[in-house]
């Protein structure tokens, strides 16, 4: 039950001459909720984008669900990894229902009828049953992001990646998205979440990972990270984000 579903070993990633990730070692167990925190530019996005190969790493190994990914390998296992983006990235020319049903039809081979049934169920789960026929532009940011979550869930992924899912939202909509994510965390799906919402990290994370300068500087259960931070960089980061 607790085998690692993601294993990153000595992973490095450079953009030209600039090295964004340095020897990252991170493994995530099945069902675990890992929250990644750290200052802007510390490599959080790059790290999770390497997991689903939106960025190709150029050193070390990444194993997802028992299969190594990247460097020309088949992408099949990556359909087990869903992603929720900061800017939602919904498909603007499709209804909400289509957005959610598309992946299951095109990738999993479901019929449109079966996929739309699944989509309706998931939209109900994120509280948007009555918005299925609308287009993304007709929804609020919070609603759009909940569609983004439903779209990722529709693939029934083993791992869900979130890259600052609430950072583009007006403050009054952050709560509705975090609520959905918290509900999700209870269902046993593995989640890797980049966020600046420290309350969410404290409440929901099994483990918090702090990054700085492209390295994992400190990691541990939320209690330890927030109450007894050891590294001075983590301490000053927490001071900065918790002071307002």
């Amino acid at each position: 039950m607790t085998r690692p579903i993601i294993e990153m070993k000595n992973v490095a990633k450079s953009f030209g001459l600039f090295q964004a990730l340095h020897s990252i070692d991170l493994s995530v167990r099945e069902g675990e909720i890992v929250v990644i925190i750290g200052p802007s530019g510390s490599g959080k996005s790059t790290l999770i984008r390497c997991i689903n190969q939106l960025e190709e790493h150029n050193g070390g190994t990444i194993i997802v669900d028992g299969m190594e990914v990247g460097r020309g390998r088949k992408r099949a296992v990556l359909t087990e990894v869903g992603m929720v983006f900061q800017s939602f990235n919904l498909f603007p020319h499709m209804t909400v229902l289509r957005n959610v049903a598309l992946g299951p039809v095109r990738v999993r081979g479901l019929s449109w009828v079966a996929a739309e049934e699944r989509a309706e169920r998931l939209l109900a789960r994120v509280g948007l049953a009555d918005q299925a026929a609308k287009y993304p532009a007709q929804l609020s940011g919070g609603q759009q992001q909940r569609v983004g979550i439903a779209r990722a869930l529709a693939m029934e992924p083993k791992v869900l990646l979130f890259d600052e899912p609430t950072s583009a939202l007006d403050p009054e909509m952050v709560g509705e998205v975090l609520d959905v994510m918290q509900q999700l965390a209870k269902t046993g799906v593995t989640m890797v979440v980049v966020t600046h919402e420290m309350g969410f990290a404290r409440k929901v994370a099994d483990r918090v990972v702090f990054m700085d300068g492209g390295r994992i500087v400190e990691e541990g259960p939320p209690d330890e990270i927030f109450n007894t931070p050891r590294d001075p960089r983590l301490r000053s980061f927490l001071q900065a984000v918790l002071s307002h």
Partner: protein, 233 residues
């Protein structure tokens, strides 16, 4: 207020340039020319559209040798004057055993050039689709083909409607060049009719027909552009 002499000269201008009798006599000829012009234009527009889309995709996503072929094609066919290309196809290719009808030659010349222009329009349209759309499609695991057909192209096509319409107007106008290779298009038939009737009315009529057909499209581009500007970024 109008003197007799002036009235007479106005009458004679009408008799010369918009002579009703001549118009009625030559109308069948003009309409057959119009049919040819429209067939040629639509053929070239459709072939240019398909060719342009393929060229754009090759230019954007194919591996180097093939990509370079697309780049070279696009540059060459945007540089060559259509009239020159048409004459080469019609009069030079027979020397290597390739003899095309005047319709075939004109349709080839127009499509080859239109494909090159359309390719650049499609490329700009695809590049205008936000990066996040590609990433969301990748993250779902869509195949490259599905990523294009389901996500990127529907958005890119919407973006390119105004410039593609503009290009189609140009193709329609350029069909008149086909009269050079003896194709019985609207212009050719009008010239013929003028010779027969010894009166320029058919030419004036042809000019008016071109305008009547193309002006709505020109207006349409204006509407598209205004709508895009209003929707803003």
């Amino acid at each position: 207020m109008v003197t007799n002499a002036e009235a007479l000269s106005v009458m004679s201008i009408f008799d010369t340039f918009l002579n009703w009798k001549v118009f009625v006599q030559t109308l069948p000829l003009l309409l057959s020319g119009l049919t040819t012009t429209l067939t040629l234009g639509v053929t070239a527009i459709v072939l240019g559209f398909i060719g342009g889309l393929v060229l754009a995709l090759v230019r954007l996503y194919a591996k180097t040798p093939l990509r370079q072929v697309a780049v070279a094609y696009i540059d060459v066919f945007r540089s060559i004057p259509i009239l020159v290309l048409l004459v080469v196809i019609y009069y030079a290719l027979p020397f290597v055993g390739l003899r095309l009808s005047s319709f075939g030659a004109a349709a080839s010349a127009l499509s080859l050039v239109s494909a090159a222009y359309s390719a650049e329009i499609f490329r700009a349209g695809i590049e205008a689709v936000p990066k996040g759309q590609f990433e969301a499609a990748h993250a779902l695991g869509l195949s490259p083909w599905r990523l294009m057909s389901d996500v990127v192209l529907p958005q890119a096509l919407r973006i390119v409607i105004p410039p593609i319409t503009s290009n189609s107007i140009n193709v329609m106008k350029d069909t008149a060049l086909a009269s050079v290779v003896a194709m019985p298009d609207l212009l050719k038939q009008a010239t013929q009719a003028q010779a027969l009737a010894a009166n320029p009315t058919p030419l004036i009529s042809a000019a008016i027909i071109y305008i009547l057909i193309l002006m709505p499209l020109v207006r349409l581009v204006g509407v598209f552009e205004k709508r895009l500007a209003v929707r803003g970024r």
